[in-house]
Amino acid sequence: MRLIKNLMRAAAVVALMASAASPATAATIAVVGGSNDDAFWNLIKKGIDDATPAVVANGGSVNYLRLQNYDNFAPDVVQLIRTAISQKVDGLVIPNWVPEAEDPAIKDAIAAGIKVILMNAGGADKARELGAINYVGSDEYVAGQAGGAYFASHGKKHVLCVNTLPGANNTEARCKGVTDGMVAGGGAAEQLPLPTTSFGDPTAVAEAIKATLLKDTTIDGVITISAGDADAAATGIQQSGIATVSLGSFDMNAAGLARIKGGTQTFAIDQQPYLQSYLAVSLLAAAIDFGTSLPTYPVLTGPGIVDTVNIDATLAGVEKGAR
């Protein structure tokens, strides 16, 4: 009985505190994010979790709205935006994955007086066009360019960009960036698009890379569009027996970081998702609570290159669930 009484007392105190806080301009913020099975969006969650205490300290709250899956992608995302509008939030952090579908809903949110920051997908031009207050994220093309430039500055002449999802905007932009970065550095690059029958089968990906390396021995660099593909690529390169080929990857995982530490992978390009959500939530809360505005536009969180120079610091971040 005493327990219940105490609980009720605690609940009353919380309710009092909440009602005391609400008259002030307290930012209620909604963040829309990708599905649970996506490692990336768990790092985003860590950034949100770490930014939330500051928002709460000023009387606000943060709500992370996640997609269940990507099966009904565009309508589900729009539905989450509509949910946020109906919850009468003050701020919305939203990745603009599908502009055609999302733009009208984002415009409605802004028309309803919600301050919006585009995060992860969309870019600066889109943020300006919609009237969002900023874009926080990386730029796939710029990230690709950084990868190409890294290869070129390390003496590589001919790079293969392995694309296991050909035709998707972001993977194409990554490979195009690699090509342009290599060309600017005096080298060359090409894309290897793999058929869908090999997606998710590391042996098929590894063998495709091996075959390509055996067929064209001028290739001295390989970069994959995802960290998982790099696991397969490492085997493919080792199987080809050509020791001079160096490996890079977009994004990173534990096995990839172990390879960088051990010397069988040269680098990984990180878009630093932790910073995306941490900065987006903090910037938005400050803008709502205190009227701040950041002259830096867009806020790029990547590309961050991970190689032997900073691998130990990166691994320490992985331990803490932020990298």
């Binding site: 649970n36 099975d37 996506d38 490692a39 768990n42 050909p166 894309q191 290897l192 698009p193 793999l194 058929p195 869908t196 029958t197 090999s198 997606f199 998710g200 089968d201 590391p202 042996t203 098929a204 590894a206 063998e207 495709a208 091996k210 075959a211 390509t212 055996l214 067929k215 960290a227 998982g228 696991d231 397969a232 490492a234 085997t235 080792q238 199987q239 027996g241 995982n253 534990a254 096995a255 172990a258 669930g321």
Partner: protein, 336 residues
């Protein structure tokens, strides 16, 4: 039964069509892919892909012969990989224990699939579609809960690495190729030289009659589902050991690729007809068509188109030969 050897009889065997399809794609890539394709490194390339697929394709094919389907293998591959990576990578327990746990889960899901199919009479496509999603959910949920990540690293050394995930013969051929050949030989014995085989074919032909004839159809169905899901878990755990890493996603391509290999290998989608050797050839055909592309000069953007056309050609050749075989009647030699 004719006792004397004749080329005609050989051509009328169920696997003859599959073999001719294989020959056709071999010639195609021999011409367009040149010599590297047929040299050891090139051969290892498609044998490696075929072996991983083949270990799953044979039990899937047996299920199809028996009139059932198992698409949950697409989730069992990452399940097997993730189980061994979490047990032996994340928790650092002995690798043999991780392997045992992964295989046990394979048996368990197979039992669930089998029991649900025989108890509920829901088509196995739907039952295994359910377990496909359910297992994907389990893999994802547990992995994120336990490791806070969707990708888990695994370092294996010693005998386990050699047996389950290493390269042999100048470091070109995956050890999985040996597993595949051994497992195929075992299946050939049990399916074509023991009574189990006839039971499976009878079940695909007419399940009710098969049961009335005294065949333990329910036990056989469960056994076949256990075989397919355990095989998929086995391929998954070997991949995790080979690539030192396991991903939550992936593996779904095995569903379609296995069914394609089985059909290219001459098994009827309606069940009751097919052979292990046919599936074996069908798997190699599929792997060659997939990997051969990289030895040619075709623009890679056309890969899927070429794969599609070649697979259709292989199946059509197969069908033509099957029709010839089934409609063949031996000429009468001398009256009575």
């Amino acid at each position: 039964m004719q006792s004397s050897f004749s080329p005609g009889a050989l051509l009328r065997r169920p696997e003859a069509g599959a073999f001719l399809g294989l020959l056709a794609v071999l010639i195609f890539f021999g011409i367009f892919g040149g010599l590297t394709f047929l040299q050891p490194a090139g051969m290892a390339s498609w044998m490696n892909v075929a072996s991983n697929l083949g270990v799953i394709a044979i039990p899937v094919g047996l299920l199809m012969i028996a009139g059932e389907l198992d698409i949950s293998v697409g989730a069992m591959v990452p399940f097997g990989a993730m189980t061994v990576a979490v047990v032996s990578g994340h928790y650092d327990l002995p690798i043999w224990f991780g392997i045992a746990v992964a295989l046990t889960f394979g048996v368990l899901i197979g039992l669930i699939n089998g029991y649900m199919v025989i108890r509920t009479a829901v088509p196995s496509l739907i039952v295994t579609l359910g377990t496909l999603f359910a297992v994907q959910g389990i893999v994802l949920g547990l992995t994120v809960l336990i490791t806070k990540s969707t990708s888990v690293a695994l370092v294996t050394e010693g005998v386990a690495k050699t047996i389950f995930g290493d390269f042999l013969f100048n470091g070109q051929v995956q050890v999985m190729v040996l597993w595949w050949l051994a497992i195929t030989a075992a299946y050939i014995f049990f399916v074509h030289f023991s009574r189990f085989g006839n039971w499976i074919f009878a079940m695909g032909g007419d399940k009710v009659s098969a049961r009335n004839a005294g065949i333990p159809t329910e036990r056989m169905t469960i056994l076949l589902f256990v075989l397919s899901s355990t095989s998929a878990a086995f391929v998954g755990l070997c991949q995790a050991i080979l690539y030192n890493s396991a991903q939550v996603a992936g593996g779904q391509s095995f569903i379609f690729n296995a069914i394609i290999s089985v059909v290219v290998g001459g098994v009827l989608l309606t069940g009751g007809f097919g052979s292990i050797v046919g599936i074996f050839f069908g798997t190699i055909t599929f792997a060659i068509v997939n990997q051969g592309i990289y030895y040619t000069d075709f623009d890679r953007n056309w890969s899927s188109l070429i794969i599609g056309i070649l697979l259709l050609v292989a199946v059509l050749m197969n069908n033509t030969f099957r029709k010839m075989a089934l409609s063949y009647a031996p000429r009468k030699t001398g009256g009575k």
